[in-house]
Subunit: 207 residues, 2 copies
DNA sequence: GTCTATATCTGGATAGAC
DNA sequence: GTCTATCCAGATATAGAC
């Protein structure tokens, strides 16, 4: 039994059909991915007819692409301004950890959705270049010259930090089943996670 | 005891077809997942008819389940005997890193396949309990009592180590597109990865 | 055991009334 | 803009000849 989105909204003042569709599509696509999603399911959730989906968005592909572009831009936290701030590399990484972990706690389905999509068709990504790495690397080498960080491979290091932030959300089902922890336990684990990762980051970077 | 030729031939043929199907199914399911795979594609790859798939394995579901169980048991490296060996916790973790990274380099599709499947239906996992964590934790607390490792949360730590091993294979498309590295570059990155992770592990655990 | 042909069903997309 | 009814391709599964 699916409740239409319009009913769950506080203001029932005529929400546009397009918005209802987008909200429903986002929920369904994020949960089930492209292949696993049905247009009928999206229509039911939006509380409208299946034909309307094709009236507003030409096809399933078009609707999906619309959702993907919107969500992909959310996948990485907003840290552009951070890269130019006059703080150490270690501090920058710690702030990134904080931001990304919080972002993912609010969007736990995001990682699997993004990763599945780019594995099927990485053309999606090519439109959206990420300038993060080169900026971070520059900051790293500045601090390395000042002997403020250990000598290591910055790409390997940043890949590791991102791994520690993202992967737990991907492996949650395995984790919960295999060592038998509840959803609440998992949440507290994720609440404590940024502090734990930041400790690791400082230990690794300490010269 | 020699069997009649006709029987031997018959049996050989039977097994051969079954093996061909399993090999093809494994390749297709691993690359595309359950939803993205077509029985026709499996049949073509096995060089047999589509109807044969249903003759040997009742349905797509049954065939998939067969493949999943086989692959899931491969997802974690064989380290049961390792947990009882008289070496330090740090050493055990380092050996795990080596084993898991090598395993994944030979099966780069495995992580996404496993994770997608358990997200869709985690009943699969419940049949296969993993005893790894408790054994590792025991070893950690022994070394902690001897002041050989830093005081930290072993679950968070082990989750981090596994993240660093597995996640790069999941994020490869994003990585390659966003910072423009080639497949060869990625391979060398993964070749060097175990050494890099082990350095991090030692830095984090150093008391 | 292996094939061809076909049944059956699902899901995306369209036509046309209102 | 919104609906009902329908089309049609594609996919799983089965029937039946050999």
């Amino acid at each position: 039994m699916v409740k239409p989105i319009s009913q769950t909204m506080e203001k029932t003042e005529k929400i546009s059909t397009e918005v209802k569709i987008l909200a429903a599509a986002e929920e369904v696509f994020l949960k089930s991915g492209y292949d696993g999603s049905r247009m009928q399911e999206i229509a039911d959730l939006a509380g409208i007819n299946k034909a309307m989906l094709h009236y507003y968005f030409r096809s399933k592909d078009a609707l999906f692409e619309r959702i993907f572009e919107q969500k992909f831009s959310q996948f990485f936290p907003k840290i552009q301004e951070l890269t130019t701030m006059p703080i150490s590399f270690t501090e920058k990484v710690c702030i990134y950890v904080e931001l990304h972990t919080n972002l993912l706690r609010q969007n736990p389905y995001l990682p699997l959705f993004i990763i599945n999509t780019v594995h099927k068709n990485n053309d999606f990504v090519k439109k959206m270049p990420l300038l993060l790495f080169s900026e971070f690397a520059k900051s790293y080498y500045t601090d390395l010259a000042a002997n403020k960080v250990k000598d290591l491979n910055p790409l390997q290091f940043l890949m590791s930090v991102m791994s520690m932030c993202v992967f737990p959300f991907l492996s949650k089902p395995i984790l919960c089943s295999s060592i038998n922890i509840s959803d609440q336990d998992f949440d507290t684990l994720m609440n404590n996670r940024p502090e734990e990762i930041k400790r690791y980051v400082r230990a690794i970077l300490m010269p």
